[in-house]
Symmetry: C2
């Protein structure tokens, strides 16, 4: 099943999961494609089609049982697993990421932090020890880490990425404002605030 | 035209724009829905359908002229305008955002920073003066700011959002890991690294 789901559908599943988990927190037990669509700005037809890839999730007229759908999506997205994540960059952004409260209860654990500044190496951010970038191969290898977040200046991002890929990382979340070149079996996602700002300016009236 | 474009299509336009700008930087003058699709993990049929909302962009067989398409998308998304943005939060994350190099050349300018910590108020991050959160109404009003980024701890995010909305902000980019409640004429986008991580773990083999 999984291999036949289009990438564009996969990319929406985490958004459905987050919306459903929020509905559950708000005390709802059942929802509809209409309600989900209203919250997410996605058409209800699109949502029904996306969720139909998993078969038997909802019934026309009765809606989706939230707890069941959450379980299914968590399984599909392998969120039940505990993933170790490497963080490269211990500046303002790296520090903010290391202290971010949203990872742990959603299956992601920062396992190590790397930086190139000699004065930072051996120090800690929160509970995490900062390693030298030169130690990426040995530390990533020892922990068998597959996922990394890159929070370094743009000019260092490709160098760091190459080291991570060589060490066996298969998924990179890149905060640096540049396009990374990686082999075809490595996944890259970008955190780009401008993309989100542009999605909103479309709707705004401009007054200089 | 603009009002008839579905939200889900609008949400993809900034991603097309970024991909096209990168292709232009790499020296390409023409591209195809196939090439764009390969780079973005979106089907070429979807891309052709999305771009057809703007009429006459591409011709079957000859592809899209990149410079023309970039101009059109920048106009549609109002990126040609210079938008002033307020930033709330001058901690690690706020500092990283204030120093982020990706805003200025893409039409967004941080106009003011707010924080609640007395020891930070009156100081600067980069070239930006830090104002008190209590001054949100007067400063936002004076600059006629419509867009804000929220980079405060989760427990402060709703309070800050209410102040921004009262002051006239219509678009909020929220970095805090909570769902914001806003009136229906205010747009909210979320920066959520976990969403991006989950989009990649789907494709990874898990070995504990």
């Amino acid at each position: 099943m999984a291999s036949s789901i289009p990438d564009i559908v996969i990319s929406r599943l985490p958004i459905y999961l987050r919306a459903l988990e929020r509905l559950a927190q708000e005390g709802y037990e059942v929802t509809s494609s209409l309600e989900l669509g209203r919250r997410l700005g996605i058409s209800s037809a699109q949502i029904r089609k996306d969720l139909s890839h998993f078969g038997g999730f909802g019934k026309q007229g009765t809606g989706y049982r939230i707890s069941f759908l959450v379980d299914q999506l968590r399984q599909v997205l392998k969120v039940e697993n505990e993933w170790k994540v490497a963080l490269v960059g211990a500046g303002d952004l790296g520090s903010a990421i290391a202290r971010y409260k949203g990872f742990e209860d959603r299956g992601f654990h920062i396992a190590c932090i790397f930086d190139s500044a000699p004065e930072k190496i051996g120090k800690q951010i929160d509970k995490y020890l900062i390693h030298a970038v030169d130690d990426i191969p040995s530390v990533i290898g020892a922990h068998a880490i597959k996922i990394a977040m890159v929070a370094v200046p743009a000019q260092a991002a490709q160098f760091v990425t190459d080291a991570l890929v060589t060490a066996g990382v298969k998924a990179i979340l890149n905060y640096a404002p540049i396009n990374l070149k990686v082999p075809s079996d490595v996944h890259v996602q970008y955190i780009d605030p401008v993309i989100h700002l542009q999605r909103m300016t479309f709707y705004l009236n401009y007054t200089p």
